[in-house]
Subunit: 209 residues, 2 copies
Amino acid sequence: MKLYDYKLAPNPRRVRIFLAEKGVSVPTVQVDLRAGEQFTPAFRAINPECTVPVLEFDDGHRLTEVIAICLYLELAHPEPALMGVGAQERAIVADWHHRIERQGFWAVGDAFRNSVPGLKGRALPGPDDYEQIPALAERGRARIARFFEMLDNELAGRDFVAGERYTIADIAALVTVNFAGRIGLAIPDACAHLQRWHAAVSARPSAAA
Amino acid sequence: MKLYDYKLAPNPRRVRIFLAEKGVSVPTVQVDLRAGEQFTPAFRAINPECTVPVLEFDDGHRLTEVIAICLYLELAHPEPALMGVGAQERAIVADWHHRIERQGFWAVGDAFRNSVPGLKGRALPGPDDYEQIPALAERGRARIARFFEMLDNELAGRDFVAGERYTIADIAALVTVNFAGRIGLAIPDACAHLQRWHAAVSARPSAAA
């Protein structure tokens, strides 16, 4: 098994933190996205979508979606559980994970990819070129402000995103918050619960992954 | 248990087809999205995100993400398996499901919500109003064309989206293709494999759900 990764990118970081929490290590290959290595014929043969992470099995099968990679790792290494225990809790964790991804992670992605000069003409990851849409960057920033409020409100009542246990939903939220920081969107001072949670999850050794 | 649904909306249809394939029925409440019922105080108390589907448990917990609702139903009613069997197959199905959702379903959503006159000022589902972005509608249409090509290419080599078995990834793809049809984006004649697959999955009784 092999993981294609890029240390500076937020999406593969979700997998790295997940692995660190599991205490599992997988041989890793760095794909230098800033140098355009994802567009080389060699990497396109591995993932025609030109994205990382990619988890490659010894039988040649490959996974390219973070959630699928983490699901495999959870099933292969059940302890500690990061995706819930029992049908209802697993579903609740999945619910939060998807909501964090949709409302948070992709919104930061919209704001980031549609505004930074280095991604002109590259507003979406993948093999196709799409022009930046400034209105979409602006919408992304507005959505992140709402996302911070929503999450702060939720965290007023519990320690972690999906309940009283650290899960994959916390990983997605941590990476989202730090990704937002890269475009100058910090957690507002008024969001004390979100600040408290962010300090706690950032203090875990896995956050260095 | 109770499912909040709206018969004309594509997202809850994913859950209805899933239930039909399982042979499971859940008491259902229709929420009339065209009449704005999702914005009433009564429904906001059920789901502040103002979206359907919502799966409500008897203990009051609620799930609002399609993938989470289907995960619960899969774990509670394992047969027939719609999300794979064994760690690797489950991960491969999840990989396809997310890819279909991200590249297909949300792209049609972008094209639909950013262009139809009835959704002016409502370019995203949820409690907040966002103006339509015409360039995003256009990008959505371009992405759907690429999505059809990609899926046609994949289906050249197998019967179903994630392998030789009908899964949740086929459900997401079927709903995506039919949703695209509502904005005039039909499967191109050149995509013979996709046409064949679409005819096969549309002929299943569950497609009427």
